[in-house]
Assembly symmetry: C2
Homo-oligomer: 350 residues x 2
Amino acid sequence: MTDKRNVKADRLRAFIASAFRACGMPEHHAARMGELMAEADIGGQDGHGVFRLPMYIRRIQAGGMSVDPKIKVISERTATALLDGGNGPGHLVMSRAAELAGEKARTTGVAWVGARHSNHAGPAFLYARMPLAENMIGLYVAVGSANHMPPWGGTDLLLSTNPISVAIPSNSQPDIVLDMATTVAAYGKVKTAADRGETMPEGWMIDKQGQSLTDPSRSGEGLLLPIGGPKGYGLSLIFGLLAGTLNGAAFGKDVVDFNADPKAITNTGHFVIALDIAAFADVDEFKRQIDGIWDQMKSSVLLPGFEDIRLPGERLAATSAEHLANGIPIPSALRDRLDALAENLGIERL
Amino acid sequence: MTDKRNVKADRLRAFIASAFRACGMPEHHAARMGELMAEADIGGQDGHGVFRLPMYIRRIQAGGMSVDPKIKVISERTATALLDGGNGPGHLVMSRAAELAGEKARTTGVAWVGARHSNHAGPAFLYARMPLAENMIGLYVAVGSANHMPPWGGTDLLLSTNPISVAIPSNSQPDIVLDMATTVAAYGKVKTAADRGETMPEGWMIDKQGQSLTDPSRSGEGLLLPIGGPKGYGLSLIFGLLAGTLNGAAFGKDVVDFNADPKAITNTGHFVIALDIAAFADVDEFKRQIDGIWDQMKSSVLLPGFEDIRLPGERLAATSAEHLANGIPIPSALRDRLDALAENLGIERL
């Protein structure tokens, strides 16, 4: 159903681009930011799309992020590269990284491109999905932009949700797209619960005495819990070392809370891998096999209480189709913030 | 403390090698099997070491696994390869894969080598750790050798524990080595609980009605639970597609329970990635940074009830040192099985 408060994807892209342009970002970069940030909202990851625009703009205005970053390759092999993101938005840096990984993997079969001096890049699936257009598999990992998790058994906030996304193309089914944090709940879900005055389920957070914390208004004193206890802690640590430390980017106590101080340089690290399917298999046959696996999972007998079995990427595809047809819902509180931003920047309202 | 029932590492290696030699395995392969299987026991992964020897031998004697596999590269790019393991033991196949990945990554920066027509390879850490000797980071993923997990919301056993291991070298601290299943508990832990007559903790398994299952003697009707619910399911699925389907190896309903039928060809799939640290960073400086991250985690204030913070790989290093010094404990039930095996093969007892 079309809601008159919904916004068409094209309008959302244009609005985001105009905001960055008003801050002095070159046209091609601004257009790319509009595309990628709107893609997050189109896919239903609304905590990572236009919701973040006021904060990005605040960071730019405070001098904490560059609108015209010089993205440079600072070391390179035939199948690897390390980019310096010039303190630009992560979207621009990791688009370039995914593009370069795809170019390299076309010849070498696989490529791993890391980046330092980058920033928050929105949802992980954006970059994992980029290699699909070239019949490649994509993997993306980032150091999260604020530490909300301690090492297992501790209380110091040294780790982030450090997400991973992996995208694998199918034939006639939606592409398989996993996009997950290494914590039980992403911090955005905690903030959403706080906004709505809801109680959090047990298992999302504990306090520093190890007691369950379900009141999201107390999240500042809380610790996010990793999936699988020490396993999720291990994954977060490993992803942080690979996406952060290896790239010369921030990890551990060096991670800057990008919401807390808009002037502090975040030195965000990420990496993307492109894997050329044709180096291993016949591409069409492989995609048909992915369809077959899809069908196997879907055909399983259900547990009591479940209505269907979902594949990773299924909801992303359904939400994207729905939002492209009917527009993207913008909650009124967010719309108010975007209206204020438009006034601040002297651009047309959304 | 040295227990007179403990076995020295050298003796364990020799015993394992002699068992394979007695089955007609060429000397260099048999010696390699002895090294790698003993390495599992040395590291404390006793469910994946000599414990598996009777089953491997049974498989060889039944004609289900080759003692002299022709391990062939069947497709190759500069940074990738796909191996056909010739239905040999996974240890031989994935050693070759890790070696090839290291050779390639020395030039290209990263290499991804997959394998099909392989078999169970023991603990994942063995192969993730191989690139460390060349100052590389290693990653290893396998399709587990029996399905004990359904897709999230279902009851059909279509997925396995599909483990991942990642190894990152440090300077003066133990190397970081994560080795984890995508399920809350590996199936071996269920079998160990059954052997000991113990009750399992809630959260390891449920039955097909979705009720908690804590009696390990009922594990045949149970479903292993993934870490983080749908997240662990997603990881298991993705790892299976990458290690299995992409390599032309078994995944989903095609996975053969390697314990159930020693004649059935398992067509096990795995992959290993070698990532050359020098393509991104100064190797010595990077290793010192890993030490620094180690210290950060260790220095965290503790939660009530915890005595220390562990890093992935810490227990592996401590157990390895202890077992190398004092020998490896062999439970009497296992010793009886190994004695029977020795008699069967006409080799000297352990």
